[in-house]
Symmetry: C2
Subunit: 221 residues, 2 copies
Amino acid sequence: MTLCSSVDFIQPVLHGYFRSSCSWRVRIAFALKGMEYDQVPVNLIKDGGQQLTEDYKTLNPMQQVPAVEIDGVTLSQSLAVIQYIDETRPEPRLLPLDPKKRAQVRMISDLIASGIQPLQNLHVIQKIGAEKVQWAQYFINRGFEALEPLLKQTAGKYCVGDEISMADICLVPQVYNAERFQVNMSLYPTIQRLNQTLMKIDAFQVSHPSCQPDTPVELRA
Amino acid sequence: MTLCSSVDFIQPVLHGYFRSSCSWRVRIAFALKGMEYDQVPVNLIKDGGQQLTEDYKTLNPMQQVPAVEIDGVTLSQSLAVIQYIDETRPEPRLLPLDPKKRAQVRMISDLIASGIQPLQNLHVIQKIGAEKVQWAQYFINRGFEALEPLLKQTAGKYCVGDEISMADICLVPQVYNAERFQVNMSLYPTIQRLNQTLMKIDAFQVSHPSCQPDTPVELRA
């Protein structure tokens, strides 16, 4: 008997930050799939930003979190990671089977992942400077004003029908960011209702920024 | 015999703008698939921006292009549209079969679609004002500095191996934007080489901003 050479049995490693919404997306996906994984904290603030080291750059050349080592490859971009997990660990599925529903899930996910989050992430608001809170509020409100009527059409119990999907994985961390920037969530009753429903689910709770290995004591739930 | 009630035989309608890189992505996908489609121009400049009308908002609540009517549904977010087309019209495929290669394609596509384009699109640079060219150059350079080493690892003839994929569909319009903002492309030899190879392909040529129905005469190739 030879030793198994497959790397598939090594537990995935998530390089992330407790408060990063993109890291949280990946943590939710792992939790929904019931996958064990290791976390290596990358502190985006300390030492001027640990994501800026040359070592980390080899894991994610954009010098952002997350980066995920899984099945012998290193991946970045949270939606690419989530869809890889979904295509290699099919149950429970994170995208519906029906192509039109899959498209709706991706449309909502991308509205958040391309249309909102990149405009209010740490690097961008640092560059904006003094006006950063107004800037972040403006782009989150703009995105939520589009998302609210879209979700009214697609939502059942969750963002698209009654199955949890990648869209829900994107929604909850974005609402968390909105609350950090004091966006008035009462303007978005559908988003708020979905967020409340989702936050009752174990996978969303255990992955929450308030209870990660790198969460500072004063921010722990 | 009853009339066929399927909407699948109605030609898709692309609501887009000749110069929008996200509209161009969808045009490339249609061209690669050999699909006929109708174009409805949405002029992002004229009348203060035709994407801002209440009518257009029902097609794309983000008030951005593109919006695509296809198979009885209306979709926005270009990567959601492209993957819908790919999942319903399988040949030639726009994502590889191998899950790790698919993840690489999505990682590169999202690096561009979430990491670069949203930060240099029209709405954002209008909000930046006087510093808009430097702002756009900064974020395109930042993205390309990450993309160049990534592509060195994944590329063959095209972005991921020797098959054209969604990553190539994202790359070429982003290079076009970079050139508009006078980014020094000689810093990125792999990106430049891939772009040159891709621009020899018919699907990338016929979909080019210089030859669309709404391209102004003075900008026509």
